[in-house]
């Protein structure tokens, strides 16, 4: 087994053209570095994935977490990265059309929306319709980010008109304003509520909900192609999926 791994890693090292790579004779694959651009909502889950992935594949992952649009602008401006994980299919398509993606993107998790309220739900919010009540301070994500667009769609499905106090350019802004008690409610991803632990989540029925698909792909400018493919494979593996499920995502 150890021999086998060593052979594989030697092959990988040869494939990468890495001249200074050393397997160290301990059977671990050669260490390498990987840069992943990932949607901000993936941070808690991907940080855990990276720890496990490092143990298994000996690849150190560096993340750039930001709103999916910000990542796209950075990549378009020439930022170097190996993997791109988007919070929606639309932006992945934009990246594909821009020639940034190598291969076919794969949806690796789903996320759905939930209403974030303060712990204990002091304002008695039980459905999207409650968000239209006067006297409530509601914060949404800006429609230019996926979370904001999904929230808009969910509210439209529910036939509810909300007058938000703020349209946050990042979904984390919505969460922090509810956490700090400045806003009575906001619409965020289930995964945000699960990992935050500082707010309560009010479920939105399937008929009104919007399910977000998260696609992942290797970038055409990837310098660590093998590492990129290994990371994507790990994310799609049962271990990777278990970590993501623990962070509130739904398995692909």
């Amino acid at each position: 087994m150890i021999r086998w791994l060593a052979t594989i890693s030697l092959l990988i090292a040869a494939g990468c053209g890495g001249s200074h790579m050393d397997t160290g004779g301990n059977g671990m694959p050669a260490p390498s570095n990987l840069t992943v651009f990932a949607a901000a909502s993936l941070q808690p889950a991907f940080d855990k994935v990276a720890t496990q992935f490092k143990t298994q594949d000996n690849i150190t992952t560096t993340f750039n977490y930001a709103g999916t649009q910000t990542l796209i602008s950075q990549l378009t401006q020439g930022a170097q990265a190996d993997v791109f994980a988007s919070a929606d299919v639309a932006h992945m398509t934009t990246a594909q059309n821009g020639g940034l993606i190598a291969g076919t993107p794969q949806v690796f998790v789903h996320n759905r929306l939930e209403i974030a309220v303060e712990k204990g739900n002091p304002r008695g919010i039980h459905a999207l319709a409650d968000l239209a009540r006067p006297g409530l301070t509601i914060v949404l994500a800006d429609p230019s980010v996926p979370a904001g667009r999904y929230a808009q769609q969910a509210l439209a499905k529910a036939g509810v008109t909300v007058h938000p106090a703020s349209l946050e350019p990042q979904v984390t802004g919505v969460l922090s304003k509810v956490t700090l008690g400045e806003a009575d409610a906001g619409i965020v991803y289930v995964s945000d509520i699960v990992t935050s632990g500082k707010v309560d989540g009010i479920a939105i029925p399937d008929s009104q909900n919007v399910i977000a698909d998260y696609p992942i792909a290797r970038l055409s400018g990837a310098q660590n192609k093998t590492g990129a493919d290994a990371f994507i494979k790990y994310v799609l593996s049962s271990q990777g999926q278990a970590i993501l499920a623990g962070a509130g995502f739904e398995r692909a």
């Binding site: 649009q69 301070t137 800006d142 230019s144 106090a165 703020s166 946050e168 350019p169 400045e182």
Partner: protein, 251 residues
């Protein structure tokens, strides 16, 4: 000389990039777009109000600073300049903890009168004042320290009271320092982003100033964002040049 040129280039190259990459056909539409007018109007209103507040509160603060010495002065000075070195987003969070619904001041205000400061235009003004006022205080304090005390002494010897000395002697002498401080303060307020988006949120017409509008536009329509940036740049330059000729003419 070479270093000076490099320094100048560091300023000029990003500006040149902005101008070179500018989608000029977009500037016209961006200029007349109602969202631009709203954001620009709000930006001007907030930055001018913040400067006015900074003048009202900052000049007395500078007077106190200029008249203290030793440890007191060191502490006061550090406190006053803290917003200059604090990351603006941290400043925004600090403002939350002071003026938010659960804040030290905002909490009682909300409980007693139902007043919520966050997410209002007032919050944007507070955020801008917090970040920009130190520029005014520092400039005015510098002016005060450079003042020749004999003018004030002479006025006092001639029988003028404290307030009269301040209004008729000190303030006129300070005019250049106050104006340069106010212009710096205004420019900083106009460009404020981090504290505003954290503390005041982002809502067109209420708290979405030009820097916030640029940030949001950058995500969806980068051309529009560059056009907006150019408009902000042009307005700031025009006002700075105008003020310079009028008030800050070479000594």
């Amino acid at each position: 000389m070479v270093l000076a040129a490099v320094g100048l280039l560091l300023f000029l190259l990003p500006l040149a990039g902005l101008v070179a990459r500018a989608p000029w056909d977009q500037v016209g539409p961006a200029l007349v777009a109602p969202e631009t007018a709203t954001a620009l109007g709000l930006s001007l209103f907030c930055s001018v109000t913040a400067t006015a507040v900074a003048l009202i509160l900052g000049i007395p603060l500078a007077l106190v600073l200029a008249r203290t010495t030793g440890t007191v002065r060191a502490v006061l000075r550090a406190l006053t300049t803290l917003p200059m070195v604090l990351p603006p987003v941290v400043g925004g969070v600090a403002l939350f903890l002071a003026f938010g619904r659960r804040g030290l001041v905002g909490g009682p205000l909300h409980n007693a009168f139902g007043i919520q400061i966050t997410f209002t235009t007032a919050a944007a003004v507070i955020a801008e004042t917090f970040v920009a006022m130190p520029f005014l205080v520092i400039a005015v304090e510098g002016g005060l320290r450079a003042l020749d005390p004999r003018y004030e002494e002479a006025a006092r010897a001639l029988g003028a009271g404290g307030w009269k000395v301040f209004a008729r002697v000190t303030l006129p002498l300070l005019r250049p320092a106050i104006f340069s401080g106010a212009v710096l303060c205004w420019a900083r307020a106009l460009g404020e982003f981090g504290a505003t988006i954290t503390f005041a949120g982002n809502l067109p017409g209420r708290t979405q100033t030009i820097p916030l509008a640029v940030y949001v536009a950058l995500e969806t329509r980068p051309d529009g964002a560059i056009a907006l940036s150019l408009i902000l740049l042009a307005v700031s330059l025009a006002i700075l040049i105008g003020l310079r000729d009028r008030w800050l003419g070479a000594p």
